[in-house]
Point group: D2
Chain length 328, copies 4
């Protein structure tokens, strides 16, 4: 039988995402509600290794539900990939009498957590926090909805200039190897073309389509390009090719960059983070371990971390079809 | 066999909601894609009765995906409730050779549409557009996500003052007889109490809980009240009762009102509207009729309008529990 | 000769406004820059009386420049109006060796400060922080620009509904006895009528003008009403009168309320707060006292507090004329 | 004596900026108010040369006060720099009986306008519309305040990531050869360093200062770099140098790009555009010509275009001092 959990540690790791603070708040308050102690480690696995932590009470997390980033800070830890690093972390957890960990982060975070939990007797629960939405076992990751709105807001602004000047814009958005952000923000922003790594659009086909658009009376156009897409080597090469073949379109490039990671989380991300944070504690108290909490069909579900790591979250190809129809 | 559809009419009816323009755009462009003509009636059923319409091409709907409200305007029509009114509408549709209608609106819109389709041979498809999310057959209505973010943004602002002045705020939000907006925005904004019509919270219990909050060290509090909630007669009576029992909390009231209906739609609402708009046309062309399109488990589905009208969309009671835990 | 200042106290008092945190930050960092100690009193004069304070270093004010409200909290103090109250405050300041005070607030704050400085040998400098912009000696108060944008954003949203439904909206905005917010937000939002306390518009004239608008082809209208305006007793009476005389316009009321006070400050308010905060310290160190810092013609200037208290800040009547022309 | 003006043309030229639509609206409605006809030329001087225009009535400009970009579109015209091009434009104006022109744009627009007005008998008035604020004769150009808020909002988001990951960010902002945007947004966003073309900061000095910041306990930093700044060749070279000397700071670059040009105008820009637009018409009707309208000390003033072209708008060096103090 699992040992009774009296103290839970929480941390955020990997790229930060809006809503991580809301998730921490939910973990902390659920602990208080169930009369379990809670401490937060700073900078993810780094803080576990360095024993850099803070005791957390319901009042420590007031007024953070609407703050971007993570007040526990985040990092990627090389040392935790070594057995030595994980051992140090374990010893620190023992010293502080931490019985279980809630890990808020992405794929890399969970891989580390799975290894740790296997080696040492510390149950872990993963909470998916990344803007990329590239994690199996959940329809939505925390921060993804906010990032979509940030991107769409930026493209709306760029469209003002694009349509005032009859221009073509190539806009690179985040998402690592996944096209979720590009695909959804592209449909949301009414982009003429959306280039994602999951689909191999040919450069010539894209240019052909842009030419057709122009002939059909469109005076400006937006092409959204996922950072992992390889259609034209990269977004600058794409624009160069477009310049040669569509000179009157006056193509420009914007790489949205890190502003996509920050900002006040949307209501959706706050509610998602709140639900997943509370349930991560409840699952631990119910004796579950080495799972990730996720949202499927509006229900919080648990999936073994081992099923999640290295699996791929499929994009909704239906949206590509919709985008094609709407850019007529 | 259903007659081939060559021309589709589209209109928006009932309370406007953000994303209605995106839905119209999707209907218009899907029609063009499938080589079907499209016209838009102004002011919902009123325009059908008055034969007040506009021919719509893909270029007529450019740059509207991000605009709040509805450029086709909306209205509630008394005349359409009469047989005489519906007959006039039918005659106008025949005159313009409109073979089918896409109706964007809420419950009232669909009730009218069902009656109309029964009496005359005009297939209709409903697209759920309302901020209230009070419609069966879809997890989300168009405009609901935007309204949640508008409300949460407003409460964030009010919280600045609440916590600067150690005050208690009662904030009334929209939703007619449904608590969706109150419940989700309340969790998203970190409200201490959420009062919704679906739950009969007793006034004394609410005040007791607020007193407990104050004793536990909270210096300010937000109570979100659905407009249909009856806990304290209305939000002003609630505040009055609080003032008597918690004078040091200095309670204030804000009624958010109509600003909840407008604004640039979120990415979620734009994508939802785009998907539902396209599918409403595709369902019609596939011979379906008298259905509403909706989103269930991230799939667009069709439900007979007759199953939707007068049914109730259940709120997620799990969120009440989460809210309770988080307001510790 | 004035005694050398080694420690400065800072506080925020009266209604909170966006940018107060930025002003505190500027005071704290200017103190550090000039090697002067700095402490912050909580809840304005209340904290001075209760000796409720915090030592402030440059790092205590990091990441607050963009936060609404005031982390030092604010209050209106009855006790400070008594000699007894002010004496207690003075004794606490002496105990902490505070040599001078920076008072961030409005008219009421400065009145108290002037009295205090007269009775005791503590130089004070006022920093104008209020959304109302109703203070002489400065073209802009901290928070005013943010409030204008909040109001205009809210009216933009309401206009979506107003024009979708061909409606008339009466929108009450803050400003106490001053029409600054109403006048500027009204022009910025393209309101058809703007009612401010500084001008006695007759109810009949307003209704006449709305009727003319309607006849000229306008289908919806926005009337912005300052809370201090008396044209129609109050905004609800106005709407009632409009309903009687313009029934087809379907008039509605929204009282924006406290959301106008909060939110992330605009760039303008952050820069203004930064400049005024730094200069308030520099003026004190230069031996000036009992002044308010303000912005005139883009220069920071000092005005004796006695000249400011009870004087009136004139509105720009030119804007009324502009509004009249633009609502044609 | 100047000939009576019966018809005014209006256009937007050069880079678009938020508030241009509000300025067009003001010109159009002021014309209607004074019973003068108004037409709008598309794409600036290009439309004058191609005779591409639209008749404008008060209703043509409804609901555009809050839209970014310019519905008359904008362009830079090579042909207008030739005598031949200007002659064509003149002939088109004569054909349409246009008696005077309002030119909304920047320096390049006014240079062209001055030349045109000298050669042909068409009075012109310039309205300063550019986000760069690099125009003499006005404290503020239309669009500048909006751009500042867009930039500050983006930096706020980036700061979430910077402080979550203890990183150093170099952020390039627009402004061509002028540092207005960088300086004001840098102060507003609480940047540690601000690099502008008007000041020759040495690379070594900047790196020294960043090292000092880090030693003093700052864990993350933002450096705002004007696009015209030459401190480190360009922003990428700067980051490279920082990477070598401050490896633990993990420097990143974001080039904000064209999103700075778009978006809903702020209240300030809408009011400014409204005032300048109305006065441009009134000055023309009063017989003035070849002037630019501008805002000085909150008054609308007129300056001869010849005094403006090629003059330099000085930045507020006081802000550099403030920034230095605040980044302690």
């Amino acid at each position: 039988m699992a040992k009774k959990i009296k103290k839970i540690g929480v941390m955020t790791s990997g790229g930060d995402s809006p809503g991580m603070n809301a998730a921490i708040r939910a973990v902390v308050r659920a602990c208080a509600y169930y009369d379990v102690k809670c401490i937060g480690y700073y900078r993810g696995y780094e803080g576990m290794i360095d024993n850099d932590f803070i005791e957390l009470s319901p009042r420590s997390v007031k007024n953070i539900i609407n703050k971007g980033g993570t007040f526990l800070k985040s990092a990627r830890s090389e040392e935790f990939r070594t057995q030595q690093g994980r051992k140090k972390a374990y010893q620190n957890l023992k010293k502080s009498k931490v019985d279980a960990m809630v890990l808020i982060g992405g794929d890399g975070t969970f891989t580390g957590g799975a290894m740790f939990s296997e080696e040492y007797d510390i149950p872990v629960v993963g909470v998916p926090g990344t803007i990329d939405n590239d994690i199996c076992g959940t329809q939505y990751t925390i921060g993804y909805d906010t990032a979509l709105n940030t991107v769409v807001d930026a493209i709306d602004k760029i469209r003002d200039t694009a349509s005032s000047h009859n221009r073509l814009f190539f806009i690179e958005v985040m998402g690592r190897d996944a096209g979720f952000i590009a695909l959804n923000s592209g449909v949301g922003a009414g982009a003429e073309e959306i280039l994602i790594p999951e689909e191999d659009q040919k450069l010539e086909k894209v240019l052909e389509s842009l030419k057709r658009s122009k002939r059909s009376g469109k005076t400006s156009s937006i092409v959204v390009v996922a950072e992992g897409d390889k259609t034209g080597e990269n977004v600058f090469e794409l624009a160069k090719a477009a310049k040669e073949q569509l000179p009157s379109y006056n193509p420009r490039v914007t790489v949205l960059g890190h502003l996509q990671r920050g900002g006040t989380p949307t209501c959706f991300d706050r509610v998602l983070a709140s639900r997943l944070g509370v349930k991560s504690v409840e699952f631990l108290l119910d004796g579950q371990r080495d799972i990730m909490v996720g949202l499927e069909n509006n229900q919080v579900v648990a999936t073994p971390i081992s099923d999640i790591v290295n699996s791929e979250h499929d994009i909704n190809r239906e949206l590509l079809r919709i985008s094609d129809i709407l850019s007529i």
